[in-house]
Amino acid sequence: MTTKKQDDNQAGITQEGRFYSAERLHAMHDMMLYIRRFEEKAGQMYGLKKIGGFCHLCNGQEAVCVGMEEAAEPTDYMMTSYRDHGHILARGSDPTAIMAELLGRAGGIVGGKGGSMHMFDKEKNFAGGNGIVGEQVPIGTGFAFASKYNDDKRVSITIMGDGGVNQGAVYESFNMAALWKLPVVFVIENNQYAMGTSLSRASAETHLYKRGISFKVPGIQVDGMDVLEVERKMTEALEHARSGQGPIIVEMMTYRYRGHSMSDPATYRTRDEVDEWRSGRDPIVRLQKQMIEAGLATEADFKQKDKDIKKEVVAVAKAAEAQPEPDLSVLWDDVINDEIPNAYPYPRQVG
């Protein structure tokens, strides 16, 4: 890896032959930091019992969220599991609506009906937010099918975990996608654990990027703690899919700092292991260092940014909390499109 200041008059960093402008680097950094602080706030709100149910944070995985989004077109489809806050924030959805969803408020991104696990934003081509492990993989393949059908060059970015990759439907999807050359990038967020199960306890082949071999789906492994590498490799993968060569697997090597969900004390990992990732490979610190070295920012700049972002997140949380709960009548909304009024079970009725 080479990190150096660009010689010409535009400031930035060139890594592996790819130039990133200062402006772009700042944007990537700020989004990663925003996600980090947003997740911390969500954790806090959960502790205060303002958020209920299951809440899965993505601290440590921010480079994956942000690097992928940097590489993607806004028209590309994206979908993931229940660990979805970071991805939808990176997509550019309204943070207040996301926080309101976590709080079960009327202005939540799905009106308070989904909560943490079910963030969707159709306008931003973000299709969840899927609570059943592996569920989004065939669905993402279906988005890719539609894209090929319409010949509109949109790629489906279909994200799953290292645990989710063991579901049978994943391989059915690999095969169909390869068979029909569908424009889908299967992203495996390998954060080393599925709940309390380490990768090697659940997978015979732990090099997950190889999981497509028997379906002729190529795979690459990416340092998911390096936002620039994520951006670069994802750009290549998207180009592969967009150009009609069919699906590709991108294995992002990453780590979740927190437990699986808020109720998981994560005692299955040693403190040393967590520390090794957290203090040794943190994606935000890493980019900050690169930017300071390249003279694009100072430590003081980042401190100030952190203060500002924390303030922003507090304001978002406040605004979300100020919203009312959904009106009870919305319970009956959106169950079905074409209601048939005179047949039982009657729409919008108890019985």
């Binding site: 209920g52 079960g104 308070g112 009906k113 609570g131 579901q167 049978g168 309390g196 009870l328 319970l331």
Partner: protein, 326 residues
């Protein structure tokens, strides 16, 4: 008798049966090293080792089918689904394989096994994680469906289910896992297909299973204050249903309310009320009422979730209506 939790009671049943029969093993996600996602299998890996307490990858269809094969080969699997929501992925193996194996092999093969895990609504986990599936499985010939409502039944029914020679769908309740109750020590069996009268009363019969049994008991207390003496019948086994106990109760009270957490249409209450109509029409002084979950997927927001679920107040109200006291 010792006071233990519902989850400890389930744990005791599995441990006792595994001690008594080497063919019994436990397999599922996070059951071994993590001691169970809901800690039901706490300590079982230490006790029985990795041959018999087995963590799986997240691959429900695969390990459910593996269980079916192991059962056909003579073992006695306990297959844990972290929750029954995820068992939908395994429905083919449960419905097309396990349930039909004996019949379609002309009796050559059996599937003596237990599929177990948490069902029903948990708290604030939204549409995909809060669902009642007992009516799905209760519709299938070849399956038995069992749902304990308290710690003692949890122990006794699970032991009976493991010993049973058929495929048993054993649906626990996440919210009940921490409930404490008196549970007989040592070997304890509650026979399948036997309902239990949880409260004796004379004015109205409340039929409720799983978590709703507790709701019915609370409603009965409320009704008592209003001078209505409710009897609470817990079927405990949904399929096959001990209708004799329900019908005897209705013969005494002449009124019935059937309560379930799941959706009304084609639900358990539909079956039970139909049986009461078919078998005890002349005993009835009022149409059977049903209290069920609202006909919508479960929402996340606290107020919407509460509204979607059946409530004690709704049970009280329904009982008052059938007693002409509304």
């Amino acid at each position: 008798m010792a006071k233990i939790t519902y989850r400890e009671a389930l744990n005791q049943a599995m441990c006792n049966e595994m001690e008594r029969d080497d063919r019994v093993f436990l397999m599922g996600e996070e059951v071994a090293e993590y001691n169970g996602a809901y800690k039901v299998s706490q300590g079982m890996l230490d006790k029985f080792g990795p041959r018999r307490v087995i963590d799986t990858p997240i691959t429900e269809l695969g390990f459910a089918g593996l269980g079916v094969g192991a059962a056909m080969a003579g073992l006695r699997p306990i297959i844990e689904f972290m929750t029954w929501n995820f068992a939908i992925l395994a429905a083919d193996q449960i419905v097309n394989a396990a349930a039909k194996m004996k019949y379609m092999t002309g009796g050559q093969y059996d599937c003596p096994m237990v599929f177990r895990g948490a069902g029903g609504a948990a708290a604030r986990v939204s549409s995909q994680h809060s669902q009642a599936f007992e009516n799905w499985y209760a519709n299938i010939p070849g399956l038995k469906v069992v749902m304990p409502s308290n710690p003692a039944d949890a122990k006794g029914l699970l032991a009976a289910s493991i010993r049973d020679n058929d495929t048993v769908i054993f649906i626990e309740n996440e919210i009940n896992y921490g409930d404490i109750g008196e549970v007989p020590e040592g070997e304890y069996i509650v026979p399948l297909g036997k309902a239990d009268i949880k409260r004796v009363g004379s004015d109205v019969t409340l039929v409720a299973h799983s978590r709703m049994t507790g709701y019915a008991l609370l409603a009965a207390e409320g009704l008592a204050k209003q001078g209505i003496d409710a009897e609470v019948v817990d079927p405990r086994t949904i399929r096959p249903l001990d209708e004799a106990t329900i019908l005897a109760s209705v013969a005494k009270t002449n009124r019935a309310v059937v309560i379930e957490e799941g959706w009304r249409f084609a639900g358990i209450g539909a079956e039970i009320s139909a049986r009461i109509m078919e078998k005890a029409f002349d005993d009835l002084d009022a149409p059977v009422a049903r209290v069920t979950g609202k006909d919508v997927p479960m929402p996340y927001a606290a107020n919407l979730e509460q509204y979607a679920l059946p409530s004690v107040a709704e049970i009280v109200e329904a009982a008052r209506v059938v007693c002409n006291r509304a």
